[in-house]
Symmetry: C2
Subunit: 199 residues, 2 copies
């Protein structure tokens, strides 16, 4: 079925490859882009290229940034001795919205998952171990999602960090088990942060 010109088919394919976008939605989005004024469509195209070109991982915490070291890691107001370990960059945003946590982060960019063949070398675990090994860290707070893979990752990390004699804690179960950190409200997240327990 090739009723559309190639360039349009290609664009529909690209949209359809995005997570949560079906074929029909992809068509709608592609038609919408074609209906945009020239400069707006080009701005969209450029935004993708720019983001991909300029955004990289902070050399300290691995969060997304457009600098060598992200604004949180380089802030003198943040307590560098407390590291909150999260799975994804969006989880940092969830904590930052609460405006109360003043430590720093470490973004794993995934969780351990034998089912999906994601092992310790596929996520940013070595970078965390190096940070802790370098010293100056008093506490590592595990804030992976409260599901099987998140728990297993936290457990794995806590064992890995044991030799460094650093306090390793876990978010309290204020967060409903089985849900997703991304959708937690700020109050729940704060309660979870304050009620963290040593593991």
């Amino acid at each position: 079925m090739n009723y559309f010109p190639n360039a349009l088919d290609t664009l529909i394919d690209k949209f359809a490859a995005l997570p949560g976008i079906g074929r029909k939605s992809a068509q709608r989005l592609a038609f919408h882009v074609l209906s945009l004024p020239e400069e707006e469509a080009m701005a969209f195209s450029d935004a993708i290229a720019d983001a991909k070109r300029t955004i990289r991982c902070c050399s300290v915490c691995q969060n997304l940034t457009d600098q060598e070291i992200c604004s949180i890691c380089s802030s003198p107001k943040r307590d560098q001795s407390v590291i909150c370990v999260v799975a994804e960059p969006r989880d940092v945003l969830s904590f930052e919205r609460g405006r109360e946590y003043d430590g720093v982060y470490h973004v794993l960019h995934g969780v351990l998952s034998p089912m999906r063949h994601i092992g310790p070398d596929d996520i940013r675990i070595q970078e965390l171990v190096k940070r802790v090994a370098a010293g100056g860290v008093n506490e590592v707070i595990m804030a992976t999602n409260p599901d099987t893979e998140g728990e297993a990752t936290a457990m794995y990390l806590s064992r890995l960090l044991k030799p460094f004699e650093v306090k390793v804690s876990r978010l309290a179960y204020g967060i409903p088990v089985g849900s997703n950190l991304e959708f937690a409200d700020e109050a729940t997240l704060l309660r979870a942060l304050n009620g963290r327990v040593e593991m």
Copy 2:
């Protein structure tokens, strides 16, 4: 709230501006794009630019094409004397999937809508009148959506085409009233096509 680097914020904004994409979804899509390999992200960016640059409206039927005249209008197998008038390019696809209609199309790129300030000069009505005035057309089939605006547009066009003594018909109400052409199944569309009545 500016926890993301600028280039990422811009990309999220662009996704959020698409129809049906909320802020949270836009974030997910932007993160997904950043997680793509360099060449895939650039291919997405290029697809938008390419589509916008190469896709234009067929000079005859106004459907989207990458040539001067689209493949349907230039096909010797299609009956140039029957024109099916649709509101959007995606509606052409709905008919083409049925593989039975062998006439040509005219894409209005919208419908008349006093509420949204869309008048006869804002959609491709003049182009249709010129095609009919040029002669060789036996029948014009109105295939706008069976809602108020679609009906009003069909009615307006049928009056406009009256002086040219061409048969003007309307899709039969096989299509459920109030629904959307885009989601009609092929069988229903065919029944509607075959049962069309003169207006």
